[in-house]
Amino acid sequence: MTSPTVAMIRTETRLFTRERLSLFWILAFPTLLLVVLGVVPAFREYNEDFGNRRLIDLYVPTTVLLSMIMAAIMTMPPTLTGYRETGVLRRLGTTPARPSSILLGQVLVHAVAVAASSVIVIVVGRVVFGTPLPGSILGYAAAYVLALAVSLGIGTAITAVSPNAKTGQVVAMAAFIPSMFTAGVYFPVEVFGGTVRDIISLTPYGAASNALNDAGAGDFPQLMDLAVMGGWTILLYVIAVRAFKWE
């Protein structure tokens, strides 16, 4: 006999594979972006401003973060607010399965999709453009897990504070653009110095970007960056748990 939670996770996984747009944005788009940028010769030139790395090297951790942003901000919140709005959560509340099991299913499915996307990005970067593999495996793992945790925290907090799908879209958009910017998707935040850089480092994706870059270069990430991500994660989950409504 399958437990209700396992059955729920299996069903949500199956349903996720039917969301073609989500699959594209999470699994394909980050790698596609990396390949398109890598085709531009300027991206393959070593640059002393970036610590004698190429732009394409910087874009590997950035596209890893991009898949997290896509999953946590663009695809998971609308699914969850939809489940709430159409009464799926309320309906589950009348069964022996708790409605929280469907949230767990969604979080897990998105986390797994992001992990798969990251592997594709790193492998394609390595094979096609010779980007370096993470130098510090332990450091990379720590930075990655925290970045994923803070991402899913953003997603659940967006779901929690949005009373309906429409508001959810606005809130998600408001979170999306600064996230893309601080993760370095628009351009590497390494171009900034001084106070601006310090402020970016205090954002979830600014810190995540620093930590993944450090670990990529073989160093253990700065404790400050890990602490920033950890702090945001706690804050976001507290907001999510406090504000979340089942109907």
Partner: protein, 311 residues
Amino acid sequence: MHQERATAVVVDGLRKTYGAKVAVDEISLNVYEGEIFGILGPNGAGKSTTVESIAGLRVGDKGRIRVHGIDPRTDRAAVTEVLGVQLQEAKLQPKITVKEALELWSAFYPDPEPWAPLAERLGLGGHLQQRFEHLSGGQQQRLSIALAMIGRPRVVVLDELTTGLDPRARREVWDLVRDVRDRGVTVLLVTHSMEEAQTLCDRIAIVDSGRIRALDTPAGLIDAASAATITTFETEVAIDLAALRELDGVAAARSENGLVTVEGAEGVALAVVEALRTQGVTPQRFRVAAGTLDAAYLDLTETITAMEALR
């Protein structure tokens, strides 16, 4: 006659407020095992709040609820095993197929009913691979009933299950509800449709503004109303309507284009015949019809909300 029957659901003095608004104001009712019990009332009367409290989705401010002896407030998990619920306008994941939904719900319960025969009986056998978003309203409702039934509940709550269905789909769903009851399951039916309540229910509680205004069998409710019978006839000469209105039990008498309508209690028709004879009038096309639940309902809930819901 109901006194000896075992009780499936007990609601005793339930009260629930949302801020200053009183949604449910001291509702008490007993649902007997194996009956179809209707909760009838206009939108916003407190019907859904009452059944959602029974299902454990809401916690009343006051009052006691038992479902086969289980308190849904303290033991919600146990209630979910004896109570199947179809909620008003609650949908499923848009891309889940009928089969997947049935399999998923089967995994929720310790001893689920085999879903394939259930789907067959509900006319879903040919739609197992279809996604929820592509089902018609009637199919969605039938799937919803199947899911409410899959855990072999002893009581099933059906909340506004025919809202938005076409007349044929409504009748199909009604047959299903009778089928469910015939299998020994107690049905708690929430509706704002008087036709539905009158057709299906063994007993009906009429709820308005959070209170029970009447609780009886459909026939009992109609009999108790001032217009239990409707007598109509035509005459060629003018008659003395005032004399008819003074008859015992007559609630209303009116004449339109030669058609006279007299509403009143049981037995009014005989008194009308008698009165016409003394007036020397021979009625034509003399007909007596039973009053409808509509009239009884209006009698009981003479409120603006009721009038709006009936429009």
